[in-house]
Symmetry: C2
DNA sequence: ATCTTTCTTTAGTTGACACTTACGTAAGTC
DNA sequence: GACTTACGTAAGTGTCAACTAAAGAAAGAT
């Protein structure tokens, strides 16, 4: 899940992911879209996306067809939604920990 | 906006951000929370978060109080929501571009 | 069997990033 | 003014990430 977020931090990978959003595409077609970058570079980006389970790979003869993995993206969205909304309970815990540590440095202020 | 996503890709920064989620905290308190990392490291993370406008800094005497910037986070959330849902129209454009480029390599298959 | 096409993998470079230690600075305290 | 508290900044290090060029590997086409 952490890998997914990290993968999405790269603009190029977001662009790639969007390409295979609603349709399968062979690696060449994806690479052709980016004129300023070599094909191996795209291949490596695809590997990262695949490791993060953001895309799936399907072999068809010599070609490899990529497609967005909607499941993972839904999970990631849920993770973020949880991140936005939660954290209030956990917050209190960490605040207490800091307070404790502060106390042993003698009460300041 | 891109900076915000990149900033969030780092787990430590997510933890920091969560700390100042609903309350202001001085840098020292934040740093104290992380025992395994030096204070300057946290200071640098805070700078990244500030550059990404994910937190705001307020000076109070010698102290600097940090707090999450809800506005930016709302924007980022909107950006992601747009990213999930949209991209269908844009997709067609890029597909066409790829198609054109393919055609000039002579029709394959 | 050889040659293409399609795509990955390897090797190597460059730059970015998280971190540390050491130092600087600014505001309060004595 | 000297000292402390609370922080940032500078400089240097190890690691990882993105890229390129060159070399595989694997399935068809001739």
């Amino acid at each position: 899940m952490d890998a997914a977020l990290k993968a999405l931090a790269e603009p190029r990978r977001r662009a790639i992911l969007r390409l295979v959003w609603s349709q399968e595409l062979p690696a060449t077609d994806i690479a052709d879209t980016f004129a300023d970058v070599s094909r191996p570079a795209i291949s490596q980006h695809l590997a990262v996306l695949k490791d993060a389970k953001l895309v799936t790979e399907r072999r068809d003869g010599t070609r490899r067809l990529y497609k967005a993995n909607v499941d993972t993206m839904a999970q990631l969205r849920a993770f973020l939604d949880d991140y936005w909304t939660s954290g209030l309970e956990r917050l209190r815990d960490v605040a207490e920990a800091a307070e404790t540590r502060k106390r042993q440095t003698k009460g300041r202020k």
